[in-house]
Each structure stands twice: as structure tokens, then as C-alpha cells.
Symmetry: C2
Subunit: 647 residues, 2 copies
Amino acid sequence: MEKNITLTDRFWGRYRELVRTEMIPYQWKVLSDSIDINIEKERDDDYIPNEKSHAIENFKIAAGRSKGHHYGWMFQDSDVYKWLEAVAYSLADKYDEELKNLADSVVTLIGEAQEPDGYLSTFFTIEAPKRKFLQLGESHELYCMGHFLEAGAAYYNVTKSQAVFEISEKLVNCLFEYFGFEEGKHAIADGHEEIEIGLAKWYEATGNMKALTLAKFFLDVRGLDPLVYDKQRKDPAYHGDPSGMARLPKKYYQIHKPVNEQDTAEGHAVRMLYLATAMADVAAKTGDNARFEACKKIWRNIVDTKMFITGGVGSTVHGESFTFEYDLPNDTMYCETCASVALTFFARKMLENEIDSEYADIMETALYNTAIAGMALDGKHFFYVNPLEVNPVASRLDPGKSHVKAVRPSWLGCACCPPNLARLVTSVENYIYTKKEDRLYVNLFIGNTAEFNICGNPVSLEIKTGYPWSGDVTITVNNAGNSNASLGVRVPGWHEEVTYTMDNSEITPDTEKGYAVFEAKPGKTTIVMRLDMIPCKYTANPKVSADAGKVAIKRGPLVYCLEGVDNGENLAGIYLDDSTSFVCSYEKEVLGGVCTIECDGLRIKEETGLYKKYTPASFTKQHLKFIPYFAWANRGENEMRVWVNQK
Amino acid sequence: MEKNITLTDRFWGRYRELVRTEMIPYQWKVLSDSIDINIEKERDDDYIPNEKSHAIENFKIAAGRSKGHHYGWMFQDSDVYKWLEAVAYSLADKYDEELKNLADSVVTLIGEAQEPDGYLSTFFTIEAPKRKFLQLGESHELYCMGHFLEAGAAYYNVTKSQAVFEISEKLVNCLFEYFGFEEGKHAIADGHEEIEIGLAKWYEATGNMKALTLAKFFLDVRGLDPLVYDKQRKDPAYHGDPSGMARLPKKYYQIHKPVNEQDTAEGHAVRMLYLATAMADVAAKTGDNARFEACKKIWRNIVDTKMFITGGVGSTVHGESFTFEYDLPNDTMYCETCASVALTFFARKMLENEIDSEYADIMETALYNTAIAGMALDGKHFFYVNPLEVNPVASRLDPGKSHVKAVRPSWLGCACCPPNLARLVTSVENYIYTKKEDRLYVNLFIGNTAEFNICGNPVSLEIKTGYPWSGDVTITVNNAGNSNASLGVRVPGWHEEVTYTMDNSEITPDTEKGYAVFEAKPGKTTIVMRLDMIPCKYTANPKVSADAGKVAIKRGPLVYCLEGVDNGENLAGIYLDDSTSFVCSYEKEVLGGVCTIECDGLRIKEETGLYKKYTPASFTKQHLKFIPYFAWANRGENEMRVWVNQK
């Protein structure tokens, strides 16, 4: 088991342990249909399969071990691959022979389900072998194969499994034979981006140049012909489109123009962010500045106009999509967990191209708020959609909010999010550092020990912190001696005050691109950063009509919210005013141990009747309690709201 | 041509003239496919037919005059009937030989399309003659027949047409043979209420007791068996449900429980209000107090919790439905024109049961705001959906707002609203008065001359007013001498100050149930009411989260709004404060002559970036101009908003 970073963090350690002890075994039971659970549809839509997962059974049928039909989404396979990827990271963190054996057996099963030429998709192998690669707008074939390659790379990195290596190499060869600009090959990409990320990861793990060539090809071909899927759909043998996907606009698939010309985030949010992640990844790996410039435009469009304060993205359930600038409705948005996981990926890949603390700020926002809100504190209930405002009555009685759940279901008909979060949580240490030539950048304040080789010299680090509850971060560096090496420590964009000591002496470091820079000394150096963690009110740009006259509370990286259980019903009647002062306390008994924020607020007086002539509103005082957004919906069904009226 | 009330009103006269000279001829061209127009779908939905109307051609095919298939909705016939009803009222108002001949020819055509047993539905006659009355959940058969009976009653009242009498009588007999609780008859109602209203009107016009019995039956049978449509759908010959209506909940059809037990407004708003109208109508006609008590509960539920300030109802496009209490979203609501037309009907029928000025207040609100907003000032463009807040960019780019149009289309795929409004506008004088024993109540301030017989004595009245622009109303009563007669003049719920003179002497009349009461004197009496018409800010109940921190402006019965053309883009950035004072001026060049309201307001300063730490907002002064809501969207595509931020 190879690993150069070991997580020691209390906050993430708890999540990691939950994933290891609860989520991974639980997901296995779901994937193998060995648990009787209520699989909830993510919204009112007859098309959504929700009787069972059947994912492992699909592989057994494709492998010839079982008889029957494929069940579930065309992309059901990907649930298994994301589980396998999480298992790989988890094994690296804490070896578990039984789990390794189970994972090996799954790899064997996948190998048996793979066709002799390397093709891998249980849906098409079982149901439509003559339609392989012929309806890529909807098929999710390459999407699933991309997830296999991500899992394959992770599992190979950790276990050096020869079986997973062989499946992956056969798969890459299969794609290399079929896809490309060359005559006789096919110039088309998948409707759902992901293969590009998988191929880049396989290249990173093994140096397989075919994989990198293919990753670049799938980016280059996308959007060259916006009618590419329509043409496939005209084939009389077209397998049909029960989900109605074919009616969606070109932007849904990001095929409206070549990807390097796409300067705004459009369409399905997860697809868009997987595309952006792959673009940034391939740009970094190939030194392609034109592609990176395209990434920067997409980044600015999201961060300046299309991102919720929680790091959520996707403003509408219709196509699970981006809509338009400043359209950020708090109660009908989508904010899929997967989309914030993907935003974390994108930010990390942007840092590999260019150091700028804004990338890390957004990465942290997405990670500490919407991404981890996707999982309940018990590790066994999951959100697909992460609203900033919920009224359970509305979720039940307004069909336009049927996707906005007030409690996390135990599993979802489209189960992309839980395993996506699991693989992120089990690999979160990979997001802490970015290495650039002779400087190591600390992006995230997460406890860990790490070993790096900087310009030929081994450097070991230890980060200790109570973050995100405490703002004190102690970084101990043991530098074997390269005088050119330096450390960049991110100065969060949200900070008010920060102080530093180096070996107990106060210092004022230079900052570059939002990172405090410490030149390396030979031997051991201890740097202590003390960040203020004062709760602050935030406002949105006045163009965000949903947030007009409202404020949100943040403390450090965490967005806070009001819940009905603490503050009573009708949170729309609660106001803060300019005299508000916040008291923050760590409550170890609350929600598994969180800092809560309390203050005196106001509640507008109840009235009868629907409309009346204006008189200045009357208020009564009300003590308010805010909890971290990620921890909401863990105490039964109740109202929640992030943006609170400001008087 | 019989008529006891003649409209002389300037405000409604203009609408009446528009309907007579523009809308009725225009609708005829649409119904007969003799005009090349762009028929817009009311939302993104593949099922909506939108190539042409084909309504008259359907009748020709059913009558055997043409060959071909039925085209359009199953309820396409009703467009013709509503047109015929508007024509009847228009002829009573202003006789037009050519129009009368055209209408007579349409009646002849309908008669030819009617089957020998009296059955009347072009869809089933042409396409599915064996499925008559066998899929009433979706078929709209009785809905269409109800509209025929409403048209028939109106046309018969005005023209004494023997042809229309015979068709109507045959139709009533057909229904009487088929439907009823008696053995051998069928105990089922139509999925869309309307037949009940039509039957009651036919009874009112002719005294046909079978019609009243059937009206009562269709109310009594509704909701007795909530599974009644599901049972019909199980028939293997079931004709299919391309619109997906069968998946909608029982409440959509108001069949979840017996109607007298329904104490909240649920489901499809137009259906609900047609039901409530019929309930109140039959209650008044049969003296059924239990039914009236049920109506009162539904009324209170709507008026206290489910009505927009514009008199719009229906909070969601999903099922065009009511949702839950205080759920009144300004930018995603439905607020169908038909629903406010129906609310006007309901209020009028409530007044027939019980005098209370609240019914008239709401009737006036629906009539002067949402109902007439359904038609452009040119009489040739129509809204189906009447939002209280529109951003044209959102309508284009947020699929969840595809139903919210920023300009009125020239016709709609589902063309229920324009002819519904036409028949209301051409009969608006029927809403002015309610006669109760020896007292005549004036509900609406609309110029007219009228003749009534009160307790055996003829009384003539004349109302002169510049309402809704002026608050002065002059009522001249010529009483032939019954000393028991009296006049009740509504005191609007919104008034601040009102003064009265009787024959030039100031008086302070008693008020009963919100009406100022004037005892009759023999001979001529002139009563002058002077209502204040000061623009006022209104607030919504704090439980209406969509309106928190916002105010709406009303002057008299009219709700006002801001439009982008007067006030610039981003209306979400505009605020009023407590120092606001309004200046009202009648501008005869603006929007066909309206009172506009101007004031000094504030505009929040523009900012860059999406989120920042709170500082009290900065504002610049901005002069603001409000226009009446009904007149919005007549100056090109732009933003609009009723509820404005209050600082």
C-alpha cells in the first residue's frame, strides 16, 4: 500500500470512519440487493427505476453467471465503480483483508462481464449488443467506462492488482481502436462527460499514452458537430429514449460549440463540471494554455454569477442544469451533491494549472458545505439535492419542489451521489497540497502527515488543527535541506485577521496569489497560523433577486443555517438587524459535535388575513440558533433556511 | 333583444368595444383557421397541439360536411361555445345583423354535429363513437356540453333562437337519460366541472327542471367514489391518455371526497372554482344551506390563504393547481386568466346566497386585475398565465418558468382563456347588481342604466362614474313608489374615507354587511358617493414567504406594478422606504389612458462579485413610475414586478 499523505484530522477522520464502517458496507448491501430498503425517487417522475439497485446482478448476468434482464438506469454500472474507487482509497487509509477480498471478487466479476475486445457495459452487453456506441447521446457507455478507469486507477495505485490493470488496458485499447479523428475511427464523444477524467487518471497511474491521447480527443471532438447525437437518433434501430433526454437542448450536453469556445457554464451541472475538470486536467498534463484560458472563463462565469454561497451549483431541476447569471433560487434549485463534488475536482485541477487561493477557497466552500451535506451524520442517508431553504409542506404539496427533500432518503433511484461523495471523502487528503516546482502549497487545513520530494530532497510535514471549529493551524516541516524549497500556506479569502509565528517568533510573511510564503530552512520548522473565526453576515450581489434583503451567516469556511427544531416554524418570519452580535460555542453533544452560533433576532408578529395596508412591521425578540449547513436535516423533518431576512 | 341593464361605462365600454370589434372577429378567424398566426404553446410540453385551431372544421367533420380527423384538444369544441356566448352578450349590447347571421350559422352547424340522441362532442363523434361517456376523467365531454349550455342559455335569452333551444333541450334529455343515481343510469361526473354551471344556466333561462336536477346530481355524485375514473381507465378499450392526466392526484379533479365535505380549495384551480361556482349557484337555487356552508369554507380558504393580491389563483403550473396555504410565489405561479374569471363567477354566486361586501371586493379585485390582464390593450393578444413578477431572461432560460410569458402571444395552443374573458367582458353588467327581496345591492361601480322590478314596482337606476380612475359615483334612482324598497351601495373594503350626499345633502348612511343602505323615497333620488382613491402600500401576511419585506401598491381596486420600460432593468434592486409619497396622475396618452403613480424610490448600488461580507446596503435615489397591473406588457418585452422591496 503506497501513500505519501496520511490523514490524521479529527473532522475528516470522523467522515472517513463513517464511510469505512457504515457507507461502504451499506452501499455494498444496496448494490448487491441484500438489504430491504426504501429506495426513494429523487423526484416525481415515472421513468425513474426505484425498486432495487440490481447493479451487481447486472454484472452477473453480463458475465454469464446469472440469467435475466438488466434493471435500472443505463448507467447503473457506475455505482459499482464508484464504490470500488472508495474502497481503494479506504484500503490505503486502513487495510482490511475482508474488504480487499470482496473488492477483488468484484474486479473478477467486472473482468468476466467485459467483452473479449475490452468493451464494458452491462446494459448493452445484456440488452442491446448491436447498439454499442451507436446512441452515445443517452447511452452513458463511456461515462460508465470512465468511472471504471477512475476506480481502476485508484485500485491499481493502492493494490497493484494485475486483474484491474488488465481490464483497464483492454478497455483503453477497445476505445483507442474505435474512437478518433483518423479515417475508419469514430469522431464522437459521450453525452455525459467522465471518460476524459478516467482516461487522464489511468494515464497518470500508468503513463499509458493512448489514454492521454484519447482524453484529449474526447475534448477536441466535443461540440464540433452539435447534431452528432441527432444523427445517431435517426438510425431506425435507435433503442428509444424513455427518459426523454433526446429532447433536451444541445447545451445540456455541452455540445453547442467546441469546448474551448465555451465561455459560460451551461446545461447539466455535473456534466459541465466533469467537462471543466477534464479540460483543466488535460490542460495541465499537456501544457495547453488555450484550453486553460477556456477553463478560466468557465470558472469565472460559475464563481461570479452561478454558484450558491454553499458551493452548490445547478439552478434548476429541469435538466439538473445551470440557467442564467444571478439566477440562484434557494428553494427550487438543484445543487446536486455530485455537482459540488465535481466543483471540488475542477478547483483542484485549476490549482494544478495556476496557483491562486481563490481556487482553494471555492474548493473548500464546496467541500465543507454542499458536498458533505449530501450525507447524514449516520452515514446511511443521502441527499441528491441540497436546498438552501426548505419547507417540508412545500416539498410534499408543491409538485415543483418534489425534488427538494426535507430529510435524507436511505437510498436514491439514481444513486450517483452517495458513492461519489464516498470516493471524495476517502481521498480528501489528495486535495490538501499542490506541488509546483520547488514550492509546496497548503490549500486546505486538514490534519495530516505527509512526505514529499521537492527538487530531489525529501520533505516531511505534519499539520495539526481543530479546523473548521478552530482557526489555529500548526504546520511542522522537516526539510532535509534544499534551500530552494518553500511553503505556500493559503490565506482564506474570508479571513479578517491572521497572525503567524515561525518557531514561536511572530512573523509577517509575504503573500503571493493568496498564499503566505515561508522559505524553507534546513531541518525542522514549526509554523503556526492563527485565523480569526468570527461569525459574519454575508450579502449576495443585488442582482440575485432571491437573496434581496437577506443575509447568510458564515464562520470560517462553514455556511450556517436556521432549522425549525431550534427556531420554530415559519423561518420566513425571522429577521436579523444591525445590532446582532453572535456567540459561538462548541457543543460536543449537538450533531456529533459542532460549533453553533447564537444571537438575538427578531420575529415578525403574526397577523390574520392575507393582505393589509402597510404599517411598519412589528417584531418580538427571539433568541436564534444557527447550525452548520452541512449538519442540517439530522433531527427529523423540519424547516431550514440559509438566507435570513435582514431588517 | 331583451335586456334590463345597459352598460354606459367608459372603462368597460372600451373593453366591450375591443371585444366586439377586435376579439370576436379575430377569434372567429382563428376558430375557422382563416388567419395565419403563430399559435404559441403555453409551456414547453410536446403534447400541446399548436398548429391551428381546427375547432370549426371539427364541427364540419362531425356534421358530415367535411372529411378528416379531429384536431386539437378533446375540449376544442368549448372554444366555439365560449365564442358563441360572447357573441350573444355582444348582440344584446349592440345588435349586428352580420354577426347574428354568422352565429346562427354556427348554431346550425352545431345542430348538424349533434347526434340524434342529443349527444354532442366532435371528438368522440369523429374519433371514438364507442367510447362516449366511458372515460370521463379525461374526456371533457360534459365540460364541453356545459359550455354549450351556457352559450345556449345566453343566445336563447338574447335571440330566442328556436334552433339553439332545440339543441339544448335534446342535450339535456340525452344527459338525463344517461346520468343519475337511479338504477340503469350512470353515477359519475366529468373530470372537469362545467356542466353543472351550464345546466343551472339552462334552468335559469327556461325553467327546465331536468337541468336543475342534473346540476344537483353532478354535484352530489362527485367524490362519492374517488376511484371512479381509475375504474373506467381499466377498460381494455380505454382510449389512452397522451396528456398524462390520469397520473394526477384525486384532488386535481376534486374527487377526493364528497364536495360538501371539501373545506379547502384543492387541485386544478379552474376546475375547483367552476365547482365552487356551481355549488354556490345550486345552493342559492335550491335553498341548500349545507351546500352553502361548504362554499363558505372553500371561499375562506382561498381568500385567507391562497389568493394573490391581484385576485390570481393557482400557485403552480404542475396541474395548474392550488398548492398549500400561504404558498404564493410571484414568479412561478399559474394565475390562469380563466381561474380569475371563475373566481368572479364564484363571488357573484356567493352574493346570491348571502350579501357581504367581501364577496364583491374579491369579485372586483379579480375582475379589474388578473382577469383583464389576460387581454392586451389591442384586444388581440392574450395571457394564459398572469405572473406578479417577470424577468424575460428567466422565462427563456429557466425551463421551470417556460409557462410565464413576458409578452402576450397572439393565440394559445390551449385557447380556453381568451374566449372566457370575452364572455365575461361582454356580460360584465350582470355583476353590478344583486337583488334580494326588497333591496337592490350595487356591488360594482360601473356606469350603466338599469330597470328592475322590486316588490312589484318598477325602479330605474343610472350610475355615472369615472371609476376606477375617479372615486366619485353618482347613482340616480327613479322609484315608482314602493316604500319598502331600499338600495345597498357597497363600501369597498379598501376605502379610507367615503362621503355621501343624497340630493345634495350630506348624509351618513347606516352600513349593513359592508353596504351603505339608503331607504327608497318615491320619485327621483340622486346619491353621490365619494371614495378616496389614495395610492396605498400593502403588505402580505408574514407567512407568505415570497412577499417578506415587500410591499405592493394599490389605488382603489387596482393593483399597480413596476415595468422595466419605465424603471430600468433589475427591478429586484428597487426599494421603497417609509418616506415615500405617491403622486397620481391620469395620463391619457399612456396605455390607452390610465392613472399612473410616481414616487421617489431607491435603487441599491451595483456591486461586483457574488458574495461579500455584510455592510448596510448603499442606495441611490430613483424616480419610480407604477402602472396598473392590468395594463402591463403592452410596451414590448420587459421586466415587471408587483411586490417591491420595502427598506
